[in-house]
Symmetry: C2
C-alpha cells in the first residue's frame, strides 16, 4: 500500500475496491508497454519500477466510484469501475511517468525511487526516446477507447503540462518572479493532469457536465496544493524521508512559494539584500552553509507557514467541490485523500 | 515549392490543389501550436521554421485525393480535401517535427535547415520539453476529430517510431548488425509514420479496408526506400546539397544498408579486416581521411549500387499497390512522388 493509500485506512470498503482496481490498472499499464523487441522491453521493465504513489490512478478510480455511487452499495464499489476507468488511470500514470523520465534527463538525476535513472544507466539518448515511447504508448492506450473524448482531454492536459514546464524553464533564475506566474507554472506542470484525471474518472461514470466541472476543479486545487507541499518539502523536508537532497529548487533557480512570500514580506531595502544573498545560491552545488542559513531565515519569517496555509485553503476549496457528489464512502475517501496531500512528508 | 513538390510539375492540376491544401495545413498547424504564454510562443515560432519537405502532409493529401477521385473531376481536386485530411496532415508533420527536435538534442546538432537548433539556442532542457509540447499538441489536434480512429493510428505509429529508434540506439556500434534488424529499425523509425499518413489520407476519403491496407503498404515501402536513400546520401551526397556533414551515420555507429552489403560481399577474412577498419571510425570526429577511404571502398564494391537497387525495388512494390486506386491525375502524382524519393539529392 502506498503512503497516500494508507490515509484511506478508515475507509476499509473503498480501500479494498481501490486495491483490486489498482492491480488491474497495473496490468493494463504493463500490457500496453510490452514490446516484442528485447532492448525496448528491458527499458520498459526498468521504468515500471518507478511506479510510486499512484496518486493520479487513485484519483481516477475514486472519482469514478464517487460519481457512480448512487447506483451501488458500498459492498460492490469495485463493480462501478469499468474498462474506461482502468484505461484512463493507466494513461494518466504513463503520461506522468514520461515526464519523470524526461525530468531526470533535464536534472541529470542519478537516482529515482531508490533505483538508478534510465539516463544514469543507459545514457541520455535512450532516456529521451524512452520518454517518447511512454507518451506514445499512453496516447495509443487512451485511443483504444471507443470515444475520442478522453484522448482529447489527455492531449489538452499534456499540452498544458509542457507549457507549464517551459514557463518554469524560462523563469529559471528570475528573482523577480511574480506569485501570479508561480501559480500559472504549477497549474500547468502539475495541476492540469490531476484535474483531468478526476474529470475523466467522473466522465467514465457518466457524470453530468456540472459534476465533471466540479471534479476538474477539485483536481486542479489539490494538484496545486500538492505542488506547494512538494516545494515546501524540498526546502524543509527530512532528507531521508523525501529521498532526495534538499534545496534543489533554489539551486535550479526555481523560486517557489515560500521564497516568494519571504521576499514579499521584506521592506524594499532588505528585499534587495535578500535577493543579493539568493542570487549566488541559484547554481548547482551552491554553498550548503549559505543555503541552510537562507532557508532558516525564510522559515523564521513565517513564509513557510504562509505557503502552507495557502495550500490548506486550496484543499478546503477542493473539498468544497465534492458537495456535488452523493454522500458515501467514496466521497469520504476523496476528502481523506485531499487531506493526505497536506500531511504527506514525502 | 519544396524540392519534392517540384517532381509533381507535370501534374499541374494536382499541384495547384496540393499547394492550396498545404497552405491550409500550415494554418491548422500554426493555429494548434499557438500559446498565450510568450516564452512558449517564441519557441514555437522558432521551430515552425523547421518545416521542410512536407513529405508526410503531401502524402496524406495526395492519398486523400487519389482515393476520392472517382467522385470528382481533376478540376475540383481541392474539393476532395476535408478538415479531417488537413488535421491528419498537420498532425503527422507535428509528430515528425517533435522527433526532429529530440533528435537534435541527441545528436547535439547545432544547425537544422540552415537555422540554429533549439538546443543550440536555448539549451537541452527547453528542447526536450518543446519536443514534448509538439507531441502533446499533435495528439490534442488529432483528438479534435469526431472519431477516435486517427488518434489510435497515430498513437500506434508513434509507439513503433520510438521502438525503432530505441532498437537503433541499442545497436549503435554493433558491427554484426543483421540486415533483418536494419530493416526492422528503418520500418519503425521512418516507414510506419509514412504508412499511417497514407492510410489515414485514404480513410478520410472513405476508402474501403483493402484500399486502406494498400495505401498503408505503399507508404511503408516508400518510407523504407526514403530512409535507404537518406542513408546513401549520408555516405555519398554532396555536402553542400545535403546540408550536413557526411559520414555522420558511421561516426554515430549506425551501420546502414550500403555498409552491411559491403561487409556481406567480402570473404570472411577480408570482412574481419574491414570491421577492424570500421571500428575506430564509429566515434565522433573520426579521422576524415580514413572515413573517406573506407567510403570509397564501400562504393567501389558495388554495395551502394546494391542498396540503391533495393530501394528501387521497394519503390516498384509501392507503385504496384496503387493499382487499387482509380486512374487519374492524383494517382499519377503519387507515382511521380514515389519516383522522386529515389531521385532526390537532399
Amino acid at each position: 500500500m502506498s503512503a497516500l493509500a494508507s490515509h484511506l485506512a478508515p475507509h476499509a470498503g473503498v480501500l479494498a475496491a481501490l486495491d483490486t482496481s489498482l492491480a488491474d490498472v497495473a496490468r493494463v499499464f504493463d500490457e500496453q508497454l510490452k514490446s516484442p523487441l528485447a532492448p525496448v522491453q528491458n527499458l520498459v521493465e526498468h521504468v515500471e519500477r518507478y511506479r510510486g504513489k499512484m496518486l493520479r490512478p487513485m484519483l481516477v478510480l475514486l472519482s469514478g466510484m464517487a460519481c457512480a455511487q448512487r447506483h451501488a452499495s458500498p459492498d460492490d464499489l469495485r463493480s462501478l469501475i469499468s474498462r474506461e476507468h482502468l484505461v484512463v488511470a493507466a494513461t494518466v500514470e504513463m503520461v506522468h511517468m514520461a515526464t519523470l523520465v524526461h525530468d531526470d534527463v533535464l536534472d541529470e538525476a542519478d537516482v529515482r525511487r531508490k533505483g538508478l535513472t534510465v539516463n544514469k544507466l543507459h545514457g541520455n539518448e535512450p532516456a529521451v526516446i524512452l520518454g517518447d515511447y511512454l507518451i506514445a504508448s499512453a496516447y495509443h492506450l487512451c485511443a483504444t477507447l471507443p470515444e475520442v473524448g478522453p484522448s482529447r482531454a489527455i492531449g489538452r492536459a499534456a499540452v498544458l503540462t509542457a507549457s507549464g514546464e517551459l514557463l518554469q524553464l524560462h523563469n529559471r533564475g528570475n528573482l523577480d518572479l511574480s506569485e501570479e506566474t508561480y501559480f500559472e507554472i504549477i497549474r500547468g506542470k502539475t495541476a492540469e493532469l490531476i484535474a483531468t484525471a478526476c474529470e475523466l474518472g467522473a466522465a467514465a461514470s457518466g457524470a453530468d457536465e456540472p459534476t465533471r466541472r466540479a471534479m476538474s476543479e477539485f483536481g486542479r486545487a489539490i494538484g496545486s496544493a500538492f505542488q506547494i507541499q512538494d516545494d515546501i518539502l524540498d526546502l524543509l523536508g527530512e532528507q531521508a524521508v523525501v529521498g532526495k537532497s534538499l534545496g534543489k529548487d533554489i539551486e535550479k533557480g526555481k523560486l517557489t512559494l515560500p521564497i516568494l512570500r519571504y521576499l514579499a514580506s521584506l521592506p524594499a531595502d532588505q528585499r534587495r539584500a535578500a535577493r543579493a544573498r539568493l542570487a549566488p545560491l541559484c547554481v548547482p552545488n551552491a554553498s550548503p552553509d549559505q543555503l541552510a542559513s537562507f532557508v532558516r531565515d525564510v522559515n523564521a519569517s513565517g513564509a513557510v507557514a504562509s505557503a502552507r496555509s495557502t495550500a490548506a485553503s486550496l484543499i478546503a476549496l477542493a473539498k468544497d467541490q465534492l458537495r456535488v457528489l452523493p454522500a458515501g464512502p467514496a466521497r469520504e475517501a476523496l476528502v481523506s485523500l485531499a487531506d493526505a496531500v497536506l500531511e504527506r512528508s514525502a
